[in-house]
């Protein structure tokens, strides 16, 4: 009988602790007053929205230029060299001032 009473006491005590812990975990945070909330909003720095699964985000930098992945940049560089060589070869085939300074469609120059 004593053992039974002791078991009931321990069970009730355990349930009380579990209920207190659950209440603390699910209690809502205190609501910020609207004025304070607006002030906090105003001083929040402007940041680009977080993006997942993207290593490099194409966001215009301080100079206004768009940052592109390095692989794409290297491809552009390779294309630029090819176009410049083709332009130089055209000049060598028929040397004229206009061919020497002819424009190409290189992304580095446009």
């Amino acid at each position: 009988m004593e053992m039974l009473l002791m078991g009931i006491c321990v069970a009730v005590f355990g349930m009380a602790i579990a209920a207190a812990a659950f209440g603390a975990a699910t209690r809502p945070e205190k609501r910020i007053a609207p004025a304070a909330e607006m002030k906090a909003e105003a001083v929040k720095p402007a940041v680009a929205p977080a993006r997942f699964f993207i290593d490099e985000v194409s966001v215009p930098g301080p100079t206004g230029r768009v940052s592109i992945p390095i692989e794409a940049l290297l491809l552009q560089l390779e294309r630029h060299v090819r176009l410049e060589q083709a332009a130089a070869e055209s000049f060598l085939a028929q040397p004229t001032p206009s061919l020497l300074h002819s424009k190409t469609v290189s992304p580095f120059l446009n």
């Binding site: 940049l73 290297l74 090819r82």
Partner: protein, 156 residues
Amino acid sequence: MPNDHYDLLNHLAPVDVERTLVLGSRISLSSGGELFPLGAAADSLYLISRGQISLTLPMKVRDRETDVVVEERTAGQTVGWSALIPPHRFTLRAVAPVETEVIALSRQALEQLFTDHPDIAYTMSLNLAAVIGQRLQLFQAMWLREVARMVEQRAA
């Protein structure tokens, strides 16, 4: 590839083309394979019999060291002429972007051939001068285009 299509062997008699080519050894390169690195001792020059060779120079792009293609050579053309020009060091890196085959001609074998056959030496020297001259003129024009753009930007 017909023998007379190698730019280094232009204007040689067929017998002399044959005499030159028997000195070479064929090298097969898989896609991405390196023919020679920048700065290596240049002991052989290469005639491209099949495929393509990209000549690259190192460049730092966004703090990353990378090889930039500055010239592409195809079948029939010559790469590695530093083997015949002192100080016999490669000034570019050569890689095969596709499966490629080249004929390697060692400097030692070529020098012996030139000693034994001065007429071959003369013709091949003119052909080599044409290959080197073409590179010089091409890069001269590219450099001048770049300078012109720089001046234009400064003046703007």
